[in-house]
Symmetry: C2
């Protein structure tokens, strides 16, 4: 029985808000020390945490949850050790809080700058992975924020044990234990309460499927950062298929894009191919077929594949603009860059790639495509906080306000204006 | 009869979206030229625009609208000329679009940067001022965005005439005329439609009173930038009242803060006074009383005022945390900086000022206060895009996501990640 057991969501948020006031002015070293203490506490409590997790896993199995969900839920000693190491890695990241723009003197004589400060209280809503609980706590604390976490009901014992470890570490470091709190009652109504606490919570970050994001957008009065949902295109330009080594490179990117982690939001959905590149299509997709990927192609692409005896289905319109999150990809033939750009304008927003040898085509693609990440000759799987240099990420935003693409520590902050005068008034 | 007359809000937004694709890659010079053309068109159409405005004013008077509202609605030749000059001023501002962070090579070998790009389609909702129609259009276009504007029903003729001028200028410059569109049907249901077009509109910016902002937050699925609402505090430290020239300076700031424009969101609401500064209170507020400001004070402040025969009422708890937008101010005595900070943490979010001679007190105030703008020895009226150096502002945000404080051109943009590789895949 801990102190948060009988609190309403509003009570929890009010405590988080009070904690946030302490966190927002902590020096970097104290935040890093708190994360170090959390990592140690996770290691010290290994037996307790794994036992709590085993209860969740057992309940999930008894309830007949699908095996991939149970797998995401399951923790073991190496996984917990990795989580603790990740916390220490976050503690070593540069602290964005306190960064200040150069002071500019305005005509009135006032000196003006902007100072980077934490957002305040984050509400994070996610599904079964208990590692998210610790990841988010570490990123929130290192950026000076408090967090209210709402995991899935199937992780309640794991999350309670993890929250207790975090609370113990914070308290031992002389910091507010309420800085990271889990909502234990998994009723949907509790989530809805969280979404509407705009007087106490500064941002909602959902991590999950499209239905969760939609629920948040429909119900929240707190600003929501929508992310992780979107269609990924690779456009193969005619220039990239003339020499065998380019074809091999393109095939490698396409394979990596689709197969390395099919359930990821940055995995390939639709391959757009220049009609001049159709003769190379079989070589481009043969590795996909060898890995069991189902291809759904438009008539020209289908003909090119069938001609050499490769397997593919006929695509319907709903195979375009669809995020598959599985070993399925659609293929569409286009007459050139313009048609590819129009197609992506209609269907894209997450990560779009051009494979080309032509720098002018590459620049036109980069200039026109309005997605969170635009890439030339690289796998869309690089749209990830670690890969892009942020060190870690709390989510990948596909909306345009505030943060776009992977969100690291800096994206968990805002700025305030600082004005220093000597008695100036406005004329 | 123009082309948008019979369109639904969704139709208008779809046209705006198509226009945004053209705007987003325009060079700065073409955007500036378009704004120049708009300014010329406004001048050329002076008679038509003023006649349309006269119809609105007449209808407002017949409907018995309050005189301040009619005044905000009224345009004359000098006002229209000023609007045209403001458009030209926006055209001269630095263009944030296309700014790119230095490329960083990641361990994988990919080269990573972020490029600044327009948000896309803005939905702006405001009340009676027709100048907002042109201001917002200029700021949106200069930052490469399309805009859907929903003004009050009392401005429909003015806004239609202004939209036609903008459309004519854009078309003459070879740009999409649908880049700026007014929603002419002022039914609330049309506004609600706009708020829910999250597949077409990237941000909603309400400009108006608290009720409008609340309606947007409650009903929108498009992200809303909330702003312009909030309580402004000035805390007078004990150190600032020991010498007459400091008292005079403080009184000048307090007067400017309350009286220069009482209807503005950055006008003073609550004066917090250190108990050691109470003897100076009469001198601090005498200029307010001379200008007809009603003071509502707590018992110690009330006693200090009554003792020298100055007029004040007893404050009740609702006089704190209240945005007056009128010639009213509340006064609260505090025992020191800590109590002032606690009070502001409970009630502030917009602009908060400390008047002090003590740099340590000033820095603690700046570090702790979590408002859009924090000021030392300056009038809160400086929380304004023009005064802080942005050149112009579309609104003042008091939320933390995306933009905080005055929003200039840069706040109407986002970034996209640009990745350039040579065939890299993720390991």
């Amino acid at each position: 029985m801990t102190t948060t057991e009988a609190l309403t969501v509003r009570d929890q948020a009010a405590r988080a808000r009070a904690s946030a006031r302490v966190l927002r002015s902590l020096p970097t070293a104290r935040k890093a020390a708190a994360l170090g203490a959390i990592a140690r506490e996770l290691r010290a409590r290994e037996a307790v945490i794994l036992a709590a997790n085993a209860r969740d896993v057992q309940a999930a199995e008894q309830a007949g949850l699908p095996e991939p969900m149970v797998a995401r839920l399951r923790l073991d000693a190496p996984a917990l050790a990795a989580i603790a190491r990740d916390v220490e890695a976050v503690a070593a990241l540069p602290d964005p809080v306190g960064q200040t723009t150069p002071e500019e003197v305005q005509p009135s004589g006032i000196r003006v700058s902007r100072r980077r400060v934490p957002l305040g209280v984050l509400g994070v809503i996610y599904e079964s992975r208990p590692n998210v609980t610790v990841d988010v706590a570490a990123l929130a604390l290192m950026s000076g924020n408090a967090a209210i976490l709402r995991g899935g009901k199937e992780t309640v014992h794991s999350n309670t044990a993890l929250e207790e470890a975090i609370r113990a570490a914070l308290t031992a470091e002389g910091l507010p234990g309420d800085a990271v709190q889990v909502i234990r009652d998994s009723a949907r109504e509790r989530m809805r309460e969280l979404l509407r606490l705009d007087d106490l919570v500064d941002a909602i970050i959902p991590r999950g499927g499209a239905a969760l994001h939609r629920y948040c957008v429909e119900n929240a009065t707190v600003p929501v950062i929508v992310g992780g949902i979107g269609v990924v295109h690779i456009y193969v330009d005619g220039s990239f298929t003339r020499v065998p080594e380019d074809v091999a490179k393109a095939a490698g990117i396409i394979l990596n894009a689709k197969v390395q982690k099919p359930s990821a939001c940055n995995a390939l959905d639709t391959l757009l191919i220049h009609e001049a590149a159709l003769p190379a299509l079989p070589e481009l997709v043969r590795p996909l077929l060898e890995r069991g990927v189902v291809l759904r192609a438009d008539p020209p692409a289908l003909a090119a594949l069938k001609a050499v005896g490769l397997e593919a289905a006929s695509a319907t319109e709903t195979d375009y603009g669809t995020e598959f999150l599985a070993l399925i990809a659609s293929i569409r033939t286009v007459s050139g860059l313009e048609e590819a750009l129009d197609f992506i304008a209609a269907h894209g927003n997450h990560t779009d790639v051009i494979l080309t040898r032509d720098p002018a085509q590459a620049e036109r693609f980069v200039a026109d495509v309005d997605s969170a990440a635009v890439m030339v000759n690289a796998s869309p799987r690089f749209n990830d906080g670690g890969q892009l240099g942020l060190g870690a990420e709390v989510a990948i935003s596909t909306q345009k306000l505030h943060a776009r693409g992977p969100m690291g520590l800096s994206e968990l902050t805002t700025t305030k204006w600082v004005v220093v005068g000597e008695g100036q008034v406005r004329g």
